[in-house]
């Protein structure tokens, strides 16, 4: 399907644009037809479009907030899953923990992309973005906390010394019972 669409788009080689956005009649060679008032229509049109744009930006900002809050649900679900997984190391708990870590990271990487559709001059995306980032960081923190409860974070001295080889001794002594 995707491919077919692409072919159709690519197949449109030329086009004629019949819309006319110009407002001053003087700029045109052809005089306006009688009974056609450009001004009134212009005014009408502009107010309409402004209203439309306002509605759109409103909708966009609303949507952006919605998107920004989406990780919260995720967070709750993750928390539930983690609680289910328990605190022993096995395949399930490790899988959940790593997905809990991976999801926020990948989400944070794509912050710009997520808010791309809602980009608008009039829409302030900073707030939603910050919320989004904060929530994802929260998810990340949850993942790290889970990692720690599983004992997979090197936060104890034992994690640093467990593979240290024994210290060398300066002196050497041998011997024993004489061979009889």
């Amino acid at each position: 399907m995707e491919k077919g669409k692409g072919v159709m788009v690519g197949g449109r080689r030329w086009a004629v644009d019949f819309t006319d956005y110009s407002t001053s009649p003087s700029s045109r060679d052809v005089p306006d037809p009688p009974g056609f008032s450009r001004a009134s229509q212009d005014q009408d049109d502009s107010t309409l479009s402004r209203q439309k744009k306002d509605a759109e930006s409103n909708w966009k900002s609303q949507k952006a907030w919605e998107v920004a809050q989406a990780p919260f649900k995720n967070l709750l679900m993750m928390g539930f899953m983690m609680w289910m997984a328990g605190s022993t190391v096995h395949l399930f708990s490790i899988g959940i923990t790593f997905s809990a870590l991976w999801q926020p990271i990948s989400a944070l990487q794509g912050v710009g992309k997520v808010f791309e559709p809602y980009k608008d001059v009039k829409v302030d995306l900073l707030g939603p973005k910050l919320l989004f980032i904060a929530l994802n960081l929260g998810g990340l923190a949850l993942g790290v906390w889970k990692l720690n409860t599983l004992g997979l974070l090197p936060t104890h001295a034992s994690d640093w010394v467990s593979s240290l080889p024994p210290a060398q001794e300066v002196e050497y002594s041998g011997g024993g019972i004489p061979i009889r």
Binding site: T88, S162, S163, L164, I177
Partner: protein, 983 residues
């Protein structure tokens, strides 16, 4: 972090599969081999013709009684008697019982000849130590009962051969006679007991064979005195040497009066040839006298007249006379003539003609002939043929028949003194490729069969073929190094002074060398091999050199006798160099330094406490001088109850030898002789590798192990408790154990077990020691563990400091800093008594350890070290359980599946050696005694490799199938897409 994850996973794996080391039935023989031996033969008795079967019954110096097949040298049956139950004599009675006299004549046993079942056993009373004589007369009957005559411990016993009842006995302990011979002439009911009273009186007792009554006692004085023993040359004539050893004395003892007749030896043989020795061969009418290498045969005529029959220069051994048809008697004589052996069978009455003369080429690695036993058989043309069984210098046993060696048994391997190991040569590329190409078809066929087996399609015949293929896999017996390090050479030194190289794959002898330096020679009268060490282990920059081993020996039974060193190439089995030393060898200390050719430096301590450095090169001395002040040595004088520490001082005074160093005493620990006696010591194995210094315990806490190469475990017991079992009371016996630092002489730990007794077996590894002893109060054996921890490092717990590496945990430490230590210990009951104790060792020391216990039943039991963990408690917490701590129980479990020897026995077990392989999870276990056994064990299962029976063909097939599936689906999807587009 990843290591931790790995270890945790490992732990989960291990704890879920509790006894992973057991075998399936079809895995027997895959990675283990077992060889049965009997030891150096002392006596051999052939079956008489009537019994028909071609067998020989032998008794050996390893206290083995065995019946061997004369055709193939197989062991029909074998009994290994206890270590202090040495066999004195063997004979066959009634044609169906093997009679053995053992334990200095106190135990008489009868074994069924065909199957070796014990028929009866009788304990003979007596107190005086004396010669033990066994005589099985052919026709002597008391109440229809064939009688066996035994003289032992001052008593003459007549024993029924049917049930072993003592029919009568005669006490000689009251008389002062030293009985030399018991003679029972055939067709008479008189037994003659002859012997010496003092050194110059000869006595004869005549005893009624039916009742044991004393019939007559004759006595005669011989003023010149006697030397040594008497030999019966004919039914009424004895021969001995006089006290000066210059006259042969013939004694006629059956007449009314005992008469002596003296003949000067130099008169007989013409000139003085040295000190004569009468050989104990019974040759009927002839005696053999040995002068150094010359053997003189002397015929005894009537009236005690002697006549020299023959002189033989290079004679090695003479057999007893064997009577065959028409009362003829023959004996075998073996000579060494230019590298071959010459076997002559002569008839006793007709010296001049040789009945048989054969020359046999023989491998010189067997050495000289030491004993000959002759047997006769009837050829197809009804004439008499002879075969002889010979015992060689290296203890091997050979059967010669018709001028050929029919078979040989390397019985030297039954008495291994020391074991070391050597790597095999690296595989050359060209060789292996050619081999694979040649066997490609075979290989494919094998894998197809295996695949069939995996898919359960194989028929019973196929399964048999698969099993056979697995057992005889040529892979395991190749002569090259393998990737996993399973293939090695075991270099073993035997009591006969012979060095063998055994392949770990199938146990075959690769080469053997009767060490020339450990053979009797003019300068070295009684050589004994002591131990064998790795001398040169080439790797890295000295790859072209062959590895070699050092064999240390000494020339004489005493420990101050001069030493002998021998260097042997382990690939070729040739002696590279031999050194006759001017000093003695009391201790050999391998030093942890190597020179540029990867030769290990060794320090030899002599009986004057001087240290001698080997190899004697200037490079070695340079390396040694650098570390001079840090090298110490210690000696344990078990008899005096003293442990002394020594430091090296300067070059020896008096001798100009820059490789010789004086030493001075640094410290000494004196145990009070009235309360403590040293019975056991243990140190860490030199080649043991420890992976980590920290032990992570529950709740991620950490404890630092006290890991020192210079740790010595000493066990002492109360002198009263050192006697037999059951003698001491619990109140007067105790066991004290010490952990001593051998550099500073500091006693790190001391503990007393009241009411305990030896023998103590101990093993020390990493930071723990496990020992086995007897608890008199509980009437049970116990095993205890001591773990020792370093408290001086315990503060290193700041994560940030560790993170940036600001700690001194890996910096070299001096033992003079006297680190604070803490010990934990625990004791458990153990139901078996122990012959040997060892611990598994792996290449990197990561794998968990197992104790290898040589049990009294001559088996090797693997016991997880986790059972001997002093932190075990009755109710371990959740965290401790997670750590793998087993709830405490009062006794250690013996799980039948954990016998690494499975159904086999290593008779006369003496030692267990573990050899790490390159594969971290795996270790080789070599157990030796009279038998040899080698197997491969994985204490935590083989977590780092696929199992042996993993089907690579199935894997390959799966991969191929998957790839094919990918291609097919890809093609199909392409097609479908194209159709979509055209629509």
């Amino acid at each position: 972090m990843d290591i931790r994850v790995f270890l945790l996973l490992l732990l989960v794996l291990v704890s879920s599969v509790e006894h992973g080391f057991s075998l399936y039935e079809d895995q027997v023989g895959l990675m283990d081999w077992h060889q049965r031996y009997i030891g150096k033969v002392k006596h051999a008795v052939f079956h008489t013709q009537k019994t028909g079967r071609k067998r020989v019954v032998v008794s050996t110096e390893e206290n083995v009684v065995a019946s061997l097949d004369l055709r193939h040298a197989e062991i029909f049956w074998r009994h290994v008697l206890g270590t202090n139950d040495a066999v004195d004599a063997v004979d066959i009675a009634l044609g169906k019982y093997v009679i053995t006299l053992s334990s200095e004549g106190s135990i008489l046993r009868a074994w069924n000849l065909p199957d070796g079942q014990m028929v009866w056993e009788s304990f003979l009373q007596g107190s005086n130590p004396s010669k033990s004589l066994l005589s099985v007369p052919i026709n002597l009957k008391v109440d229809k009962d064939n009688v066996i005559l035994v003289f032992s411990k001052g008593f003459l016993h007549a024993v029924s051969s049917i049930d072993g009842d003592v029919l009568w006995d005669k006490d000689f302990s009251a008389e002062s006679i030293e009985v030399q011979q018991i003679i029972q002439p055939p067709e008479s009911y008189v037994i003659y007991a002859v012997g010496f009273v003092g050194s110059s009186q000869f006595d004869v007792y005549q005893i009624n064979a039916k009742s044991g009554e004393l019939l007559k006692h004759k006595s005669a004085a011989f003023p010149d005195g006697f030397y040594g023993e008497v030999l019966l040359v004919s039914s009424d004539m004895l021969v001995s040497l006089d006290a000066t050893r210059s006259n042969l004395v013939t004694i006629s003892f059956r007449k009314e009066e005992i008469s002596f007749s003296k003949t000067h030896i130099s008169y007989l043989v013409g000139e003085s040839l040295g000190i004569p020795v009468i050989l104990p061969s019974k040759l009927s009418g002839i005696l053999a006298v040995k002068f150094n290498t010359l053997l003189v045969f002397i015929r005894v005529k009537s009236e005690g007249k002697l006549e020299v029959v023959d002189k033989i220069a290079n004679a090695a051994a003479v057999s007893d006379a064997l009577s065959f048809s028409e009362g003829q008697q023959a004996f075998a004589l073996v000579e060494h003539v230019d590298g071959k052996i010459l076997l002559t069978v002569k008839l006793s009455h007709d010296w001049n003609s040789d009945f048989l003369k054969e020359s046999i080429a023989m491998d010189h690695q067997w050495g000289l002939v030491q004993k000959v036993f002759i047997n006769t058989y009837i050829r197809t043309d009804r004439s008499h043929g002879f075969r002889v069984l010979i015992v060689m210098e290296d203890h091997s046993l050979l059967l010669l028949q018709q001028g050929e060696i029919v078979w040989s048994r390397e019985e030297g391997l039954a008495s291994i003194i020391d074991v070391t190991t050597s790597e095999l040569p690296v595989e050359k590329k060209g060789v292996s490729v050619a081999k694979v190409e040649q066997n490609l078809f075979e290989w494919l066929k094998g894998h197809v069969l295996k695949l069939k087996g995996t898919l359960m399609l194989a028929s019973p015949e196929d399964i048999a073929v698969i099993q056979d293929m697995r057992l005889k896999s040529s892979e395991k017996s190749k002569m090259t190094r393998d990737h996993n390090g399973f293939r090695k050479l075991l270099i073993v030194l035997t009591r006969a002074g012979k060095l063998y190289a055994l392949h770990t794959g199938d146990g075959r002898v690769i080469w053997s060398l009767l060490l020339p330096s450990l053979r009797k020679s003019g300068s070295c009268k009684h050589p004994t091999g002591l131990s064998v060490y790795q001398w040169q282990v080439p790797h890295h920059h000295a790859m072209d050199e062959n590895p070699s081993v050092l064999v240390a020996g000494r020339c004489g039974p005493h420990w101050d006798a001069p030493g002998v060193l021998s260097f042997v190439d382990t690939y070729t089995g040739k002696e590279l160099n031999a050194l006759g030393l001017t000093h003695s060898v009391a201790q050999v200390i391998p030093l942890p330094f190597t020179d540029s050719t990867e030769q290990h430096l060794h320090l030899l301590i002599d009986s004057d406490q001087c240290a001698h450095l080997y190899p004697r090169t200037s490079e070695a001395i340079g390396i040694f001088q650098r570390e001079f002040s840090n090298i110490y040595w210690y000696s344990v004088e078990a008899d005096n109850g003293i442990i002394k520490g020594h430091a090296l001082r300067s070059n020896c005074i008096g001798v100009v030898d820059e490789y010789c160093f004086n030493s001075s005493d640094l410290w000494s620990i004196v145990f009070p002789s009235e309360s403590e006696k040293i019975i056991a010591t243990a140190t860490r194995k030199l080649n043991e590798v420890v992976h980590t210094q920290a032990k992570v315990i529950a709740d991620q806490d950490v404890m630092f192990k006290y890991i020192s190469k210079n740790l010595l475990f000493v066990a002492t017991i109360a002198p009263k408790a050192s006697g037999e079992f059951g003698k001491p009371t619990p109140e007067e016996s105790w066991l004290v154990v010490y952990l001593i630092d051998t550099v500073t002489g500091r006693i790190l730990h001391r503990m007393t077990h009241h009411g305990s007794q030896g023998p103590v077996h101990a093993v020390l590894s990493e930071n723990w020691v496990v020992y086995h002893y007897f608890n008199l109060r509980a009437h049970r054996y116990e095993m205890s563990v001591i773990e020792i921890y370093d408290l001086s490092r315990a503060e290193n717990k700041d994560v940030w400091k560790l993170l940036v590496g600001k700690h001194n945990l890996t910096s070299p430490i001096s033992l003079y800093s006297r680190p604070e230590v803490m010990t934990k210990s625990q004791s458990y009951f153990f139901t078996q008594s122990v012959k040997a104790l060892a611990v598994t060792s792996t290449a990197k020391g990561i794998t968990s350890k197992q104790l290898l216990i040589g049990t009294i039943g001559d088996q090797v039991l693997a016991l997880d070290k986790r059972y001997l963990d002093p932190r075990r408690s009755v109710n371990p917490t959740q965290a401790e359980k997670e750590e793998g701590i087993i709830p405490l129980s009062d006794s250690l479990p013996i799980i039948p599946q954990s016998y690494v020897t499975h159904a086999l026995k290593v008779e006369g077990l003496r030692g267990i050696v573990t050899l790490p392989t390159k594969l971290e999870s795996t270790t080789l276990v070599f157990a030796h005694g009279v038998d040899l056994f080698l197997t491969r064990i994985a204490p935590s299962r083989t977590y780092d490799s696929l199992t042996e029976d993993f089907s690579y063909a199935l894997l390959l097939l799966t991969i191929v199938a998957l790839i094919a599936a990918i291609f097919v689906t890809w093609v199909l999807s392409e097609k479908k897409e194209l159709q979509e587009k055209w629509r």
